[in-house]
């Protein structure tokens, strides 16, 4: 498990625990918990509070001049965690009935969660500091120059065979970068990464044992170089895509919460406060 994805694992295990509890209630009562009864209602209330936290806390931290506690990256992790656990609890709250406004709210929740995944995917294409601040193109260029210099220094100390192998790989990378449009690169970058790794693995196999051991030390540096060059190539498009995503995601979220509040008011009127 990488620490980088801890929020996804935490959400996965929390949802697993909630599922176990849900199944225990199903087995104990012999029926699917109703949305209007204690357990089902509780799921809905807690799930909605988590969704509300998802919608507000990260946004407040990002925009407020006063609420500056905690790193942005950690708030984003918390945003993702509550954004996965909250909707799952709301899904269980539905008791698997998707009629009327409640069904529309659930459908919107699913759409917003999927949209959130897409947003995170685009977000990770944009270079940032550990605090989550966007790097400017000039910062990126400086990083690339520094990485190139490190690579050249390392290569000078290597045998001709290793140098040729690395230069062959860099050439193949360059060709692919030129061939792919930045917009396409944004969406297929995991596949491109796998392709590069395969190329480098193939080159290493051709080397002798000692050269291969030396080449392994280059893995991280090559990966860093690849990432930076790719980020530079698609920077403009990634920013545009994030802007477009934001334009669509925000209204979806606004509609979701508006309808969720209407659903809550209706549930209070027709059920909770009914005498």
């Amino acid at each position: 498990m990488s620490f980088g994805n801890i929020e996804l694992w935490a959400a996965f295990f929390t949802n697993l625990a909630i599922t176990a509890l849900y199944m225990a209630v199903v087995i104990y009562t012999g029926e699917v918990p109703r949305a209007s009864e204690l357990f089902g209602h509780g799921l809905g209330i807690v799930g909605f509070i988590l969704m509300l936290m998802t919608e507000t806390l990260y946004s407040i931290r990002k925009r407020s001049q006063f609420a500056r506690w905690g790193r942005m990256a950690y708030w984003l992790k918390f945003h993702i965690y509550t954004g996965l656990v909250g909707p799952y609890m709301v899904l269980l709250h539905t008791s698997w009935k998707f009629g009327g406004l409640a069904g529309i709210v659930m459908l919107l929740t699913v759409i917003v969660v999927i949209s959130g995944f897409i947003g995170r995917y685009i977000y990770t294409a944009i270079p940032r500091t550990v605090d989550g601040l966007v790097l400017e193109e000039s910062d990126l260029e400086a990083d690339i120059r520094e990485t190139e210099a490190s690579l050249q220094r390392w290569l000078q100390a290597q045998s001709d065979q290793t140098r040729r192998a690395v230069q062959g790989l860099l050439h193949a990378e360059e060709q692919l970068l030129q061939r792919l449009s930045p917009a396409l690169l944004l969406w297929v970058r995991p596949a491109v990464d796998v392709y590069y790794r395969w190329l480098w693995w193939r080159e290493k196999r051709r080397m002798g044992r000692l050269a291969r051991e030396e080449a392994k030390k280059l893995d991280r540096l090559l990966a860093r170089r690849r990432l930076l060059r790719r980020q530079r190539a698609m920077l403009l498009w990634a920013r545009r895509a994030l802007g477009l995503w934001h334009t669509l995601h925000v209204p979806l979220g606004a509609v979701l919460f508006t309808l969720a509040f209407v659903h809550i008011c209706a549930a209070l009127y027709y059920a909770t406060l009914l005498r």
């Binding site: 919608e55 009327g100 209204p251 979220g253």
Partner: protein, 272 residues
């Protein structure tokens, strides 16, 4: 804030929220509370009440759902159509009158549900807390351990059952035709046995039993009450030997010569 509000408060976000709200209002004005219904109403048709044959024919939510700020309750609106139940509640008569005898206000939703689909059940009772005594048939003894469906086999709980024992229990072969069907004269609901028998018995019922106690019926009548045997206690070979020794060869009908069970009272006994 840095001159910007929450992320959702973009012009497009606010516009989308307002548009969705308008849409909800529009649908509600045009189609009533269809958006808020947790499920279709029951469509099983019955006699016409309040102008409809089934709840599914009710169009406005407000016909049943009273606003929480008003004095009216939902039960009040139930009674507008279900006048027969209202009558029972007011007079204290019938099943509902008995159920609601100790309640200040009727609470129909305690037993009756809705929005469970056209074929959905309308009455849900908790067998653990249901006051069965209000039906005129208190569940006592072994009846407490039964499932509802053991007696209400049709699944229709609104139809009263015959409270006579023979409606559910068959008279056993053991005493078929000997007694009336007033089972409670001898039996309790706790168990069929032991049974209490207070009527005169042709043979001393405490014969051979410990002092102050009686024998159970099965001691002398192991298969049916219409036959008896003494050989559950007395050794038939010894009985035969003792009778033959005294020249008695017709000794199969014991009570003919021993009507009270005493040895001496026989035709050839010492008393004679």
């Amino acid at each position: 804030m840095r001159g910007r509000g929450l992320g959702c408060l973009t012009p497009l976000g606010v516009l989308a929220a307002l548009a969705s709200l308008l849409l909800v209002v529009g649908v509600t004005v045009a189609r009533g509370g269809v958006l808020f219904s947790p499920g279709p109403l029951n469509a099983q048709a019955g006699e016409i009440k309040g102008g409809v044959r089934s709840h599914a024919e009710i169009e406005a939510c407000g016909q049943c759902h009273a606003p929480f700020w008003g004095p009216e309750t939902m039960a009040d609106r139930c009674m507008v159509c279900h006048t027969n139940v209202d009558e029972e509640v007011k007079t204290g008569q019938g099943m509902h009158g008995a159920f609601l005898a100790n309640q200040e206000q009727p609470f129909c939703r305690g037993c009756h549900t809705e929005h469970r689909g056209p074929e959905g059940v309308l009455t849900v009772l908790d067998p653990e807390t249901f006051p069965h005594e209000t039906t005129g048939f208190p569940l006592t003894g072994a009846h407490q351990d039964l499932a509802c469906s053991d007696c209400h086999t049709s699944g229709d709980f609104t139809v009263g059952l015959d409270a006579a024992c023979v409606a559910c229990h068959q008279e056993p072969e053991y005493h078929a035709g000997l007694f009336s069907t007033a089972c409670e004269d001898c039996h309790t609901t706790k168990a069929w046995r032991p049974a209490r028998y207070d009527e005169p018995h042709t043979f001393p019922i405490d014969h051979g039993a410990r002092f102050g106690s009686t024998n159970s019926c099965q001691v002398c009548h192991p298969t049916t009450l219409q036959t008896y045997t003494c050989y559950e206690c007395h050794d038939p070979r010894q009985v035969e030997w003792e009778h033959r020794e005294e020249g008695i060869f017709d000794f199969q009908n014991c009570v003919k010569c021993h009507p009270t069970g005493r040895e001496e009272e026989g035709e050839f006994g010492e008393d004679d």
